[in-house]
């Protein structure tokens, strides 16, 4: 599903953000990507999402290789990879339903199917009663649920989430995490970047990748040692 092979990323001024990172996230897996600020989590997510290309090595996502896919065809990957952000990145001035419907519309869903499908997605994330509410009328947790519904709109194979609970209180965090687990239980792979070790400890069955100064220092599938703060 997601395979990084000896991936390095060097920025002209910052130097190496990632150095020789390799891991393989398989179909249906749930994995946390953790590490301190500046450890390379966001860079990894950007590379997996093909928003950026590695300096060395290869990133393979849902069958597409970073070495071969052109910028012109990047949309094919994006429709197979859902993305959820810490700051939700919803469109203001539109309702929850319109935010989800927008994705369906711009990816070519037949017009008659858009609203029913958007409603169904909002029901799936437990926001059906608030589908007509504008983004600024929703709480943080609710906005994140809309963002998740939006990420699911294209029925992706894998869901990427970059610090999705970073702006949420504990209760909203639990709700959103339960939602991710439900989605994962239906067979979708989830890769979640977070620096919150307490959160990771609550889910001992998830796989954990730990980055430190751009290097992969821990992969729970290959090591027995527990994650340390």
């Amino acid at each position: 599903m997601i395979k990084l092979t000896h991936v390095s990323k060097e920025y002209p001024r910052r130097g190496y953000a990632l150095r020789d990172v390799s891991f393989h996230l398989k179909k249906g897996e749930f994995a946390f990507l953790t590490g301190h600020s500046g450890s390379g989590k966001s860079t990894t997510m950007r590379l997996v999402h093909m928003s950026d290309r590695p300096t060395d090595g290869e990133v393979r996502v849902v069958g597409y290789s970073s070495e071969k896919v052109t910028q012109r065809h990047i949309w094919k990957i994006r429709r197979r990879v859902g993305f959820v952000f810490q700051d939700f990145r919803l469109l203001p001035g539109r309702t929850a339903l319109e935010n989800v419907a927008f994705v369906l519309e711009v990816t070519g869903t037949p017009r008659s199917a858009i609203v029913p499908k958007a409603q169904r997605l909002l029901t799936q994330v437990g926001l059906s009663p608030k589908s007509g509410a504008y983004v600024n009328e929703l709480s943080g947790g609710e906005q994140q649920r809309v963002a998740i519904a939006r990420a699911l709109a294209n029925e992706p194979y894998v869901l990427l989430a970059d610090e999705p609970t970073g702006n949420l209180d504990d209760r909203a965090t639990r709700g959103v995490m339960d939602l991710f687990w439900d989605i994962n239980a239906k067979g979708m792979a989830v890769l979640m970047a977070t620096h919150d070790l307490e959160l990771i400890k609550r889910y001992p069955h998830a796989r954990v990748f730990e980055l430190d100064h751009g290097e992969l220092v821990y992969d729970s599938a290959e090591a027995e040692a527990p994650v340390e703060a």
């Binding site: 949309w75 429709r79 197979r80 203001p92 927008f102 711009v106 990816t107 294209n154």
Partner: protein
């Protein structure tokens, strides 16, 4: 269909921003429109003067009719010549009496008509320049029964110098105004697109193709350009009516110019939007 719907929706969602963009486009094109109006009227004035450029071929009194007919045929065969008209001595006198009434008494006292018979050579539009009139004159002067051939060399030279200055000024100032208008339109649409960068980001994020993302913005740019063109047309027309009513008589531009200006506004709007959106498409 989606592109058109989104383009219209964008106008509806942010009427102030799109209204301001169109107003900026309109004002920029208004300056171009005013310049077009001035350039067109200058061209009309010069053309009306230019129409009077012709060659007068004066003939000796003893020229035979067959010789005159031969010359008339020869001159009429020159490609740049539109028509050749024979003016007899009597015609010349009749015209002089009409055109110079202050000498009426003098003309009627004359026992012999001193005015020569002549050929008036009218040139085709576009050929009324010093080189052609000189060539036509020289052709006529080859005939022994031709007394003289005149076209007012100094006057024609000055007219064409003036015309060249007019053309150069039009080209340079027109280009400068068009460039300034282009920059203003480009900036206005860049601002409008910048305000919607998040939307573009989301579209890229979820896998919309570049063409799909670009189309509504392209249409929106074209619509802003056309709307700006309509504003510019209204302002230019109001100015024309004002000048016509209170200052002096001017002519309105041909419909083709107006249509071309509005079309240029629309096309440039679409082009500017395409350029402005490219940066955002490369951002993710």
């Amino acid at each position: 269909m989606y592109a058109l719907r989104e383009a219209i929706a964008a106008f509806r969602r942010a009427p102030v921003l799109t209204g301001l963009s169109s107003a900026m486009v309109g004002l920029a094109l208004y300056v171009v429109g005013l310049f077009g109006l001035a350039a067109y009227n200058l061209q009309l004035a010069l053309s009306s003067v230019e129409e009077r450029v012709e060659v007068a071929v004066y003939l000796r009194d003893d020229a035979r009719q067959s010789e005159i007919d031969l010359l008339l045929t020869e001159l009429a065969a020159i490609p740049e010549v539109r028509s050749v008209r024979f003016i007899s001595k009597r015609d010349a006198m009749a015209r002089a009496q009409v055109e110079l009434p202050e000498f009426g008494e003098l003309f009627s006292d004359l026992e012999v008509n001193p005015l020569p018979q002549s050929l008036e050579v009218e040139l085709r539009p576009g050929s009324r320049n010093p080189e052609v009139v000189e060539r036509v004159s020289q052709s006529a002067l080859l005939y022994p029964f031709v007394e003289d051939a005149r076209y007012g060399r100094e006057w024609v030279d000055k007219l064409f110098t003036l015309r060249r200055i007019g053309a150069a000024t039009t080209a340079v100032l027109g280009s400068a105004f068009a460039l300034v208008a282009a920059l203003i339109i480009g900036t206005a649409l860049r601002i409008a697109i910048f305000a919607r960068r998040e939307e573009i980001y989301v579209m890229r994020l979820v896998g919309a193709t570049n063409g799909f993302i670009r189309r509504p913005f392209l249409l929106e740019g074209a619509m802003a350009g056309l709307l700006g063109g309509a504003i510019a047309w209204a302002l230019t027309y109001a100015t024309y009516r004002g000048v016509y009513a209170y200052l002096f008589e001017v002519a309105w531009m041909p419909d083709g110019w107006v249509a071309l200006g509005m079309l240029a506004g629309g096309l440039f709007g679409a082009f500017s939007s395409t350029l402005a959106i490219r940066r955002h498409l490369e951002a993710i």
